[in-house]
Symmetry: C2
Subunit: 342 residues, 2 copies
């Protein structure tokens, strides 16, 4: 059933039927009702491809997921971020199209998306320092929202981020208040913007209390279980091992836990651990009582909001770029305690 058939069946022209269904005012309300009823009865759904060609809009947004060719790692937060964004898109009848591309093909992918016209805008994932994608997207004129920020970009652009610096600063202060002074950092890769900011927060908090950050206590790697394990194991082997750790994610925190326990120590007593918790649906940090003390911010909610920002931008491209900074909560769980007496 297409528009023309429906129109003939109703004894109307396609024009009128189209207008009736799309809520244009120049059609009699009685007629409109009749048309809508018929459309429902005949189960008429306008062909998306035709709408897209006619209107020039793609009614779709792109998410380009870069795969680091070296590590081949898909960041697990994508799943939840996308679930959140997807909710927004469904509500607005937008499609979400995902491109999984080796990071060296990213530029070509964005250009293709624009020139072939299959999306109206994109979400930029995993921004790095001085991320070239921002200039690129502005150049080719594709609306975009960055999930995170890109230190080093001068011109304003739209982004949505968690206050990573503040979160790790507060977490560090919390540990300091508990009497810890040897605090280790199990950070993500430090060319990623969020990791840089977290490190800054950590360093700032230490410095503010007169503690000189010790490079031997700062690790930076993929946020995997194994990497968390290795970093922790290395730190625990030091002459002056840390009594507390800041971990970049739930998963690296689990690696840290394994290292602590396989060293015969107990988490929360011998070694305190604070993680950053993205509140992933399949990776809940305990139930009533959180397993880990954590800085928490829902990445799913971030997905929802970022998608809304993007749709807004697409609807009003002339608007100024939007920014939104979310604060993480500091939630107390079972993995932290006072520093052990020396």
């Amino acid at each position: 059933m297409n528009l023309k058939e429906l129109a003939t069946k109703l004894g109307l022209s396609p024009t009128t039927v189209s207008r009736a269904l799309n809520g244009y005012p120049e059609v009699n309300e009685a007629t409109r009702a009749r048309v809508i009823a018929a459309a429902k009865r005949h189960n008429y759904h306008p062909n998306t491809r035709a709408i897209r060609l006619a209107t020039g809009r793609a009614m779709a947004v792109g998410h380009v997921i870069p795969i680091a060719t070296r590590h081949e790692i898909v960041n697990p937060v994508f799943a939840d971020f996308i679930a959140g964004a997807g909710e927004t898109y469904s509500r607005n009848d937008y499609d979400m199209i995902l491109s999984v591309v080796p990071d060296e093909d990213e530029e070509a992918t964005y250009r293709g998306l624009k020139s072939k016209g299959n999306v109206d805008g994109v979400i930029v994932h995993a921004p790095r320092m001085n991320d070239p994608r921002i200039a690129l997207l502005r150049e080719i004129g594709l609306p975009f929202v960055v999930h995170g920020r890109a230190t080093g970009s001068s011109e304003p652009y739209s982004w949505l981020d968690v206050n990573n610096r503040r979160a790790f600063q507060r977490a560090t202060e919390f540990l300091l208040d508990l009497g810890h002074t040897r605090i280790g950092l199990v950070n993500g890769l430090e060319f990623m913007d969020f990791a840089i900011r977290r490190r800054t927060g950590y360093v700032d908090a230490l410095t503010a209390r007169g503690i000189t950050p010790d490079p031997a206590l700062m690790f930076s790697d993929e946020m995997t279980e194994v990497a968390g394990f290795r970093a922790t194991q290395a730190m625990l082997a030091l002459p002056q091992p840390p009594t507390a750790l800041l971990c970049a994610s739930m998963i690296s925190g689990m690696g840290a836990r394994r290292a602590v326990e396989s060293a015969g120590l107990t988490v929360g007593r011998d070694v305190s651990i604070i993680i950053h918790d993205d509140d992933l649906s399949y990776m809940k940090n305990g139930e009533d009582v959180p397993i880990f003390t954590a800085t928490r911010s829902s990445v799913r909610e971030a997905g929802r909001l970022a998608a809304e920002m993007l749709l807004g931008l697409i609807a009003h491209p002339e608007d100024a770029p939007q920014q939104r900074l979310l604060e993480a909560e500091l939630i107390i769980g079972q993995s932290t305690g006072p520093a052990p007496k020396a």
Copy 2:
């Protein structure tokens, strides 16, 4: 730059330019070369929307990710599966469109996808027993491949699955060979097809050795850390606790580990653990020596293959349904050992 402009610029008709670019034989090779050169020079990319309307093909496949409204859990294997599938799609110039929908809206989503014509086929995720989606998709005539199988569906359909029964059977046998007789099962939700099959494999192996499966040792829940923890904790509190566990995923295995260790026991000595390892990129089971003994099958590879099957089906809809059963490897890690002497 569109086709018509390019044609005028070349002094050719749109027809010829289109044919030249699409490799049709009725065009002089010299002309073709000239056209291709001009297209490159002017950075011409055909408008996807127009192609789609003209050809009637969407050049896109859909992945409908159901969100269980009750738990709101996004299965973490999606990320890797989709990364794998995405590779296949990119190579074939297909778009991947993701719909994240509450499971009660699933049927409407599939129908909409078909009648609005935005995809040429779909991948069905997370099949359950007697899954209604199979009949639905056949009815509406949308090509599909199921990731997994749906016990109870009579008519043939295309699927790609891991031999879950066999994997868990072998894992159980391996534990039996090590002298374990009290073996616990920390399974996924048993309305999911894969969970049913795993349980069958486990039960079969026990029965074959004359051991009656003990309901007190069989748990079924979401595959989360917390669920793994709880199930394990409950079993360890039994008068006759298990000396070995089969866990449905790396994540539930981590919960199990936490429970074992917080009971003051040691994994691999007091309690052996075997997990199923989907070989997720961010959740590697150790490096040289695996952390967990595991049945392993790469879900990313599964994504690649399933996508290939689907594209084949779309290209040749008349072909008979395809099936493919992947075998999981049993890899030995540090989490298993002989049964402790009673």
